[in-house]
Amino acid sequence: MGAKATRDSFGEVVRELGAENSSVVVLDADLSVSTKSALFAKAFPERFFQMGIAEANMIGTAAGLSFSGFVPFCCSFGCFLTGKYETIRVSVGYSRANVKLVGTHAGLGTGEDGYTQMGLEDLNLMRGLPGMVVLNPCDDKTTRAAVRFAVQHTGPVYLRLTRQKLPDLHSSESDFKMGKGIVLKTGKDIALIGTGSTVSEALKAAEGLASHQPWVVDMHTIKPIDGALLKTLSDSCRLIVTIEDHNVVGGLGTAVAESLAENGFSGKLLRLGVQDTYGESGLPHELYDKYGFSSQKIVSRVKEILK
């Protein structure tokens, strides 16, 4: 099984798209080596805009490019990009700008650099904007598909990517359909819903919880959330667990909670992730364990509830 950081998949596919579609342009704010937009910059220098360390100007400029028919990808770390919320809110969201925001360095998985470099509130912020599609793919194939979707889709998209390598979980790009969670394991009593880097944690945890016949779901689209799949899960399960490398406030857990509550789910919901606190330095697997959503911690938390 291969493994790759989703930012690497992005860099490669956006370069491919650059060759296929002359409308694709890319902007970066002095992080092109880290976001991997540098691959596009090298191949298509005339369609790459180095904006310097000035994200708000980058976002507004991307909006202007989109108004004239280009499809701009605006790249930075997720925290720095979504930190310019007011510019995104008006120049992109309210303006219905066809801008693709690419936020890398998702969550605690960012690792040793610590909290200030971690996108831990980005899903929450982007989910709050009407019309914004919010994507958080878990591996190479689905990231490639998500980037291709973003180009085809008219309207703003937020794409969340990881610094750390993630194992290949999907065999085909066609597994990805925007707004449709992917069932990796069909189950019975409980459901483990991951997004991005936590999908592989959920899969591993499912092995330790095999006696409970867990569903395992890759919820790559946070907005619009897949209400139909959640209804299926709520009809089947007495415990639904969401797992995210993001604050549990406003991200996957919140999106799932809203949908389940509206559909009358009578079981229990457990939201694993960063529990409304800030992050810190460490290795990704150490942090996932400390913050309670490594595969082992998922297993122990679920067993505790079900005993």
Binding site: L65, F67, S68
Partner: protein, 281 residues
């Protein structure tokens, strides 16, 4: 396509048009009973000159590919833009009466989705120049010779994002970008120099490598001449510091901070229209 060329109206003609637009602005605001007269009246001579002298546009086709673009970054001055668009035949004059009313295309601040002649949705200050830069970059990529004009308020340039664009537009050699700062010296909380002094503003923009001009923003010959000079730039973006008077043309509004965001009542409207050489009805 010659009918879509810039109208090149003379200074005398522009003065007459701007006077009519001033009246329309005040009538609109009185009807809306909210809005921003001060900054609309300071900007109207600049906007009138852009639409009636300088810019290529097709009043029948907001999205005509070869049009010049106007981004009103100081979105609160939008009554001035609506008045000029109506005068230019781009929108119906009758729609002006719907300003700020529910279900109107004429939102309190410009909305590009509801009104296609609006190039950018603004009102959150400091964002328009970035958008204008993006449009200018796009036009260069498309090898079009259309140009982009962006009007900011002086108080607006206190926003940091403006200076990010001040830094980047010269790097991209956007000689097709003309930014104008409507320096009316006023903002909501007081005089600009007291709230957050911008001077020396000419030197600041020069230091950022723009082609800077400083003009009287109510002198039509000066505005025409500045725009003509901007056309001749081969590499640099142009920044025009337009010295203006807040509330220009209405005696009791001129230089009065209190008229930044307050609409006239019916009596005040009549008095204002009297100042502008005509009774209201």
């Amino acid at each position: 396509m010659s009918d879509l060329a810039p109208l090149r109206k003379s200074a005398t003609e522009l003065a007459a048009l701007a006077l009519e637009c001033r009246r329309d602005i005040l009538v609109m605001l009185e009807k809306a009973q909210s809005g921003h007269p001060g900054g609309s009246l300071s900007a109207i001579d600049l906007i009138t000159t852009l639409f009636f002298h300088e810019m290529r546009m097709n009043p029948q086709d907001a999205l005509w590919a070869d049009r010049d673009r106007f981004v009103l970054s100081k979105g609160h001055g939008v009554p001035a833009l609506y008045a000029v668009l109506a005068k230019r035949g781009a929108i119906e004059s009758s729609v002006l009466g719907t300003l700020r009313k529910i279900n109107s295309q004429l939102q309190g601040h410009p909305d590009r989705v509801l009104l296609p002649f609006v190039e950018a949705s603004t009102g959150s200050l400091g964002q328009g120049l970035s958008i204008a830069q993006g449009i200018a970059l796009a036009l260069k990529l498309q090898k079009k010779n259309s140009r982009v004009f962006c009007l900011m308020g002086d108080g607006e340039t206190q926003e940091g994002q403006v200076w990010e664009t001040a830094m980047s537009a010269p790097k991209f050699k956007l000689n097709n970008l003309v930014a104008i700062v409507d320096c009316n010296n006023g903002q909501i909380d007081g005089h600009v120099k007291d709230v957050m002094d911008l001077e020396p503003v000419v030197e600041k923009w020069k230091a950022f490598r723009w082609a800077v001009q400083e003009i009287d923003g109510h002198s039509f010959p000066a505005i025409i001449s500045a725009l003509e000079k901007a056309r001749a730039e081969i590499e640099r973006p142009t920044l025009i510091i337009a010295r203006t008077t807040k509330g220009k043309g209405v005696s009791f509004m001129e230089n009065q901070i209190g008229w930044h965001g307050v609409a006239p009542n019916p009596d005040e409207l009549q008095k204002a229209l009297g100042d502008l050489g005509r009774s209201g009805k």
